[in-house]
């Protein structure tokens, strides 16, 4: 009897834990399974390519003829166009070498391949986005947002500066808040070099009013007057920001919005961290003046 109750309780706990685990399945599926879904997509792409090869090898002899009739110089443009279209035009050019029936099989094969190529093309961008996010990105994604005062901001932000220091933070993060005054000092210092410090507070995304109010208070308390911006959390830039796990993280971007060096984890109120950031800044400056 007692035992039953104990087991029941334990099972209850197990259930609670597994429910918590299921919650993840639903809510963070996008985050945690992005890599696995990318893997799944890669697989299907492989499968699709295999299908193409099958189609070609089914009428091996005919296709050999087509290929031998082709120009040897395959240009960039032919590579970037749909392979099915490319084959179709090749078949069209070598039309007189084949009987009507042969011509028909070749064109239907080429049409099939074109359809498969379209499927692959549809897969590709999704996969790029996922793997790009996983690698924390090499460029800041396109975005349209605004600063905490409501002024619109977009990617042209980067073009206006020789380099841009982007600091990711959130309100409840003590080390983040403690470096706000140092970031402000840095902003004043790098203005002369054409640089700018921009803050992105992940709690202000989607113009979350509570988060913005709290962030403004903290910035004011720390005497920080540099720009802080936000955008939609569902945007590519939002994903970039939410993909950041350790706070504070400080990136340096060049004029084209590309990441320079390794992002810095930790507050620049620590000397060694400031030195690491300065290295990235110097690299960005060197890159910009070399242009």
């Amino acid at each position: 009897m007692k035992l039953n109750r104990v087991t029941a309780l334990f099972l209850g706990l197990v259930l609670a834990f597994s429910l918590a685990a299921c919650g993840q399945g639903a809510s963070s599926a996008s985050a945690s399974s992005s890599a696995s879904s990318a893997a799944a997509e890669a697989k299907t792409e492989e499968q699709l390519l295999a299908e193409e090869n099958e189609i070609l090898s089914a009428n091996d002899a005919l296709w050999e003829k087509v290929f031998s009739s082709m120009d040897k110089n395959v240009t960039e443009t032919t590579l970037s166009t749909n392979y099915g279209d490319f084959l179709l035009s090749a078949v069209e050019k070598a039309k007189d070498q084949f009987s009507d029936e042969e011509y028909k099989t070749l064109t239907t094969d080429a049409e099939k391949i074109r359809a498969i190529e379209e499927q692959i093309a549809a897969l590709a961008p999704a996969e790029d986005a996922a793997s790009g996010a996983a690698a924390q990105g090499t460029a800041f994604p396109q975005f349209e947002g605004s600063d905490l005062e409501g002024n619109p901001v977009d990617n042209s932000l980067f073009a206006g500066n020789a380099f841009t220091v982007v600091n990711f933070w959130f309100n409840g993060c003590k080390p983040c808040v403690e470096e706000l005054d140092d970031l402000n000092a840095l902003n004043e210092k790098i203005k002369a070099q054409g640089g700018e410090v921009v803050g992105i507070n992940t709690e202000t995304l989607d113009s979350n009013q509570q988060g913005i109010d709290a962030a403004k208070k903290l910035l004011a308390a720390k005497g920080a007057s540099y720009r802080n911006i936000y955008f939609a959390s569902g945007s590519e830039a939002g994903k970039f920001a939410l993909n950041i796990m350790a706070f504070p993280t400080t990136y340096v971007f060049d004029r084209d919005g590309n990441v320079v060096g390794q992002p810095l984890l930790g507050g620049i109120d620590k000397e060694e961290n400031l030195a690491a950031l300065q290295k990235n800044i110097d690299a960005a400056l060197a890159k910009d003046s070399a242009k």
Binding site: G172, K174, P175, E203, A246, F247, G266, K270
Partner: protein, 47 residues
């Protein structure tokens, strides 16, 4: 008379539930969540 063990247990269970609910009501769970989903660098000993 002093409380029996059973009374103490019931009282504590009730207190636990009430504190939990009060804490959720005033928004503590969000603070916990925002800290728990991000890497707390000073917590794990980085830096």
């Amino acid at each position: 008379m002093f409380m029996t063990k059973k009374q103490a247990q019931l009282l504590l269970l009730a207190a636990g539930v009430l504190m939990l609910l009060f804490g959720v009501w005033r928004g503590e769970a969000d603070t916990v969540f925002s800290k728990a989903i991000r890497l707390c660098m000073e917590c794990v000993g980085i830096g």
